[in-house]
Symmetry: C2
Subunit: 412 residues, 2 copies
């Protein structure tokens, strides 16, 4: 524990202030002594919000709150705490959310329905929301525009580095900014794991359009990563668009298919992808970053299922940790995915090295070449399953003894 991921960025990107977004953080003592664990973000009136929330059947109280309010589409503040997920906390969990919303609404001078809330950390322990509520008034006074790094630090749990990404894009010739922060580390998996991601932009996009643009991009970014196949109760992606760029002449976009969104869509996709890969690279105990691409499947869904079967296989992941080009385990993972694949046309590559062809080891393959390749820090596994034309890519990391150490000791 305590080792920083070998993929930690040497320099954190600088995220410029966005008109209409003010940020403050505090050490509220929810769980972690001596570090910030509370994020309060205030938005100017008129800020649109859209989101994608966990599909878990045991979703947390804050997720329930967001789901109940997202259809309104407007936001005035975001409250995030780390250290306690406020999940599976029953009536007390709902009360904690209500107390937080009430205090945040007072501090932001808005309605409670305009407050968005997320929590991450231990599941099942009651969250003492008074620690949060009592700080929000003071934080509203301190909030400032250029505190994204503080924000990213306040929301992490077992992450070894804060996750920030930023891109510029143009909408109808007007430059807008897209800033993102995220936390990940453990429990990252399909269907949005204990993953929190918050995106902020000054673009002027109405809520429905914002959702239309954002939701499909999640599929090939945050939903395409997996660390341990576990999915959390708390996964939350929220995107806030202040509309401040309209004052600089940006159009107000009402439809997700508006052609003027092409640049914004690309910028948002890049921010989401950037954050997703940062999350994988900080997977608990990770020493290898792994790209799994499956081609030749009948449908994109089938390709995704096979890729996830490979990426989630403990035997594949431990082989990668051991730098063992054990492609037989890749074959087994393809087989167990339950999707159509032609065993006798299967082809596998490690990087550029073709390992298997037509359902058996490639005649050109040499074990030494595979073994040398596996020493790389970034590993690419490509598989052609030989039954169609669809492809999908997922990203994962290896499974190491440190993953066990971190997770066997997490609460103690």
């Amino acid at each position: 524990m305590g080792n920083v991921s070998p993929f930690a960025p040497k320099h954190l990107p600088h995220l410029a202030a966005i008109d209409g977004v003010r940020i403050a953080t505090a050490a509220s003592g929810i769980r972690y002594p001596g570090r910030t664990d509370l994020l309060f973000v205030l938005f100017d009136p008129g800020t649109a919000v859209a989101g994608v929330l966990t599909q878990s059947k045991t979703a947390s109280a804050p997720v329930d709150w967001c789901r109940a309010h997202l259809h309104q589409g407007m936001a005035r503040a975001l409250v995030v705490n780390s250290g306690n997920a406020n999940a599976f906390t029953g009536r007390r969990g709902r009360e904690a959310v209500e107390l937080t919303a009430k205090a945040a609404a007072k501090a932001a001078k808005c309605q409670e329905a305009d407050i968005y809330i997320a929590s991450t950390g231990v599941i099942g322990e009651p969250l003492d929301a008074r620690k949060i509520a009592s700080r929000l008034g003071e934080l509203a006074g301190e909030a400032k525009g250029d505190a994204y790094e503080d924000a990213a630090r306040a929301i992490i749990t077992t992450d070894t580095y804060p996750k920030l990404a930023t891109r510029k894009a143009e909408i109808d010739g007007v430059e807008i900014t897209i800033n993102g922060i995220a936390k990940g580390a453990g429990m990252i998996a399909p269907d949005m794991a204990t993953m929190l991601a918050f995106i902020f932009t000054d673009a002027a996009i109405e809520p429905a359009a914002l959702h239309e643009v954002t939701a499909p991009l999640v599929e090939d970014s945050l939903n395409a990563i997996t660390i341990d196949g576990d999915t959390s109760t708390s996964d939350t992606l929220l995107i806030f668009a202040t509309g401040a760029a309209a004052r600089r002449g940006a159009p107000r976009i009402a439809r997700g298919d508006d052609p003027r969104l092409v640049g914004f869509r690309a910028g948002l996709a890049a921010v989401l992808r950037d954050l997703a890969l940062q999350i994988v690279k900080d997977g608990e105990g990770a020493t290898k970053f792994v790209t799994v691409k499956v081609m030749g499947a009948k449908t994109k869904q089938a390709a995704r299922a096979i890729a996830k079967s490979i990426a989630n296989s403990p035997l594949v992941k431990t082989a990668i940790a051991g730098e063992d080009p054990n492609w037989g385990r890749i074959v087994a993972a393809v087989g167990k995915a339950g999707e159509e694949a032609d065993r006798d046309r299967l082809a596998i590559w490690l990087g550029e090295i073709q390992v298997a062809k037509d359902g058996e080891v490639a005649s050109s393959y040499r074990e030494q070449a595979g073994a040398a390749y596996m020493k790389n820090r970034e590993i690419a596994i490509s598989v052609d399953v030989g039954v169609g034309k669809a492809a999908s890519t997922v990203w994962t990391c290896d499974l190491t003894k440190d993953y066990i150490a971190i997770n066997a000791d997490y609460r103690s």
Copy 2:
């Protein structure tokens, strides 16, 4: 590596000879130096066979062979090797199986269609079947009735102990014997993992009836265990019934629903359950044996899916390894299963200790009690998901650093 499971039996059971079954083993040098890796079992004419094979889309060549011949229902010999799975070996794999069948048929003086074959070990490396074929004639001469322990030792790979089970049962007042051997260890998961199990009995049961009796029993034994969620290319259960008990007056059973099979069914269920639990208890790196029971589900399939979601969760399994009563991870695993569950009626027990009730921590629960319970070697997790009356139980083990060590180093 090399540590024997803490669950290894102190004494192996003695399996009595069964009329019509003769066993021989050899060290053929396929992979492991200095240990037996080849099992040859010969059956008297008239022996019925039934089986359940892996659902993997990348099944091994021996599985293909068995699937092609099982419908004939009669067997004269079984050839099993460890060290090489002969999976994903293409044309050469098929040729290796054909060579083995040919040599076995010659040694057993029967048709090739009466030969059954299974292989376990590394995937993707060509199997040199000449090492097998050249030994079978000699083994046929040496084969004897009471060599089940030798048989169980010859088929294991990373198992730390041989797996044997035996029961007596009566059919219409005549005592019959049911012997079983199995191998497991890694890659054990739903849908029959690199699990090989072979059952031998002197009961006189026709092939179709034998299949009808056996297949449903697999669901709550071998298919109810999971070590790492991985499913192999090679899983094979075969049951051989010599019919020798007919000479002692046992009836010849032609239908799976014959009421005279009640005792046999119970005995076979016990042998399959016994072998399945031995496999879990020898899970790679296992230090805890875990029973996961899910109740209150809509259907048995839903209960099974939720139980497997818990049993396969790396976060649950590492918490158990760390003796951490981290029931929040159980909640998350219920949530991600995708099956109907009522979060606000969810109840969880660790052994007899109620941890959660009505969707939050039980007021009677004390963390110290949970922590003390987790120090047990055998852990029972029970969950009531509060939406119906169906239940299912699965068995698993914890996920430890030794699992990583064993699997990161397996081929090197």
